[in-house]
Symmetry: C2
Subunit: 237 residues, 2 copies
DNA sequence: GGCATTATATGATATAAATCATATAATTTA
DNA sequence: TAAATTATATGATTTATATCATATAATGCC
């Protein structure tokens, strides 16, 4: 797939309130914000920003799904966070005035706003409410990261795999059938999140499939036996 | 060791500016802050706060070292962060209005200030500078956590062990001899940080000792060959 | 100061999971 | 649409590391 960069579009229709952190703004503030943002449409697989880059603003996902990845040792990719529509991305480097320590890549076609850096700083300085919303977001991400550390330290691959599926479900929810996880990741990407090899990931998904915990249809994973999957995610010995 | 709780003392002498985030305050602000804080002396091994507890304020480490731990699966302890004097603790739960997701335990005798919750919120609302300092702190912790995730996902225990020693050195520095890491952790605690078994931790430290990367004297670890330790911390195949 | 407890050390064994290998299925793209 | 590439699948083998076991050293305690 060729990535020629996002297609910029005008931004009149996209409702920034979609993005949870901006819920706290009033009508006028939203109007003002809209003047200082622009929208872009990304194709699946495009980079929103890249590791070591300098932040130019805050990204708000209007639609689509994003993975935040970093290049580990030996060039191996690590998925650090998974982001859904309504979320903001790139706030960490922006707030701490650092370069990005990870890249953001679209997992599907996406519509993303970028809010001008200077304007964003003005907005959070003048609106403590907004600031607290962003802080809460970072706090949440820190908690999730530290939970992941415990999991990686103490659980085996099978448990982490079950946990990852539950995490995907919690993040992206189900499709209309109420059991298919609403995201398409390659086995390699799942492995890059779980911290295992692609082969082990494939093998475990096959096993879960055979054990009727899940069912597989291409990249689509359905949770067939949630109770047993939860059990598998915990220590079972 | 019996833990009877901290000994409260008056606070006139402790300089809150020690704590990096408060460097941005001016003379009057510091004076005001001092009215709203109190100091306490903790013995080694005491809890500053505990998992699931509700934050009553912000803790500032005047002296001493702290570990933030969480109880993982099967009751196994996970060390999430290591904190030194000058740092603040307990800000995450406080800012996001949540219960603590980890406990804070002193690694040695410590003097710790607690800043009243309400006052702290007033302070960060009225001083964007202070707010940004706290945000930078959280941002840093998030980065460290995500680096740890990559390490846990992609490195083997030997590499992580070498990395952990370098991390301890980076956090607490050397003693006067310029090679002994200035912190005393049990082998089990190191294992709980690295994400390995106590036996593997002991074995690897022994190996590093035999290979003249480090030298051991009780709980004190000296880095003898920094260059080789750095090599060991990275992928070497 | 001696006894009990806990921490450190090291060997032996078992096992989870990586790696290597090969096959088939599914996508790209020419 | 065929060829090429990439993703998924699964078997065989190796290896890192946990676990179990036992010994010694260090520390806390009455």
């Amino acid at each position: 797939m060729k990535n020629n960069g996002p297609i910029e579009t005008s931004c009149v229709h996209c409702n920034v309130r979609l993005n949870s952190v901006f819920n706290v703004l009033d009508e006028d503030q939203v109007k003002d914000l809209c003047i200082h943002k622009s929208c872009a449409v990304y194709k699946k697989g495009q980079y929103v920003f890249t590791e070591n880059g300098l932040p130019a603003g805050l990204f708000c996902i209007n639609s689509g799904k994003i993975k935040l990845t970093t290049t580990g040792y030996d060039g191996k990719e690590q998925i650090l966070r998974l982001v859904k529509s309504g979320d903001i991305v790139g706030y960490r480097a922006l707030l701490s005035n650092e370069r990005y320590h990870c890249s953001a890549v679209t997992l599907e076609d996406a519509s993303i706003c970028i809010i001008d850096k200077k304007y964003f700083f003005d907005a959070i300085e003048s609106s403590p409410k907004l600031m607290f919303e962003v802080v809460k977001k970072m706090s949440q991400d820190l908690k999730v990261a530290e939970d992941h550390i415990v999991s990686l330290s103490q659980k085996n691959v099978r448990e982490r795999m079950a946990e990852a599926l539950l995490f995907l479900k919690a993040t992206y929810g189900f499709e209309e059938d109420n059991q298919t996880i609403n995201v398409s990741l390659s086995r390699e990407e799942i492995a890059d999140y779980v911290g295992t090899s692609t082969e082990s990931c494939i093998r475990l998904l096959s096993e879960f499939n055979n054990d009727k915990l899940i069912s597989l249809k291409g990249k689509k994973i359905s949770i067939v036996n949630l109770q047993k999957l939860i059990q598998t995610a915990n220590i079972e010995d």
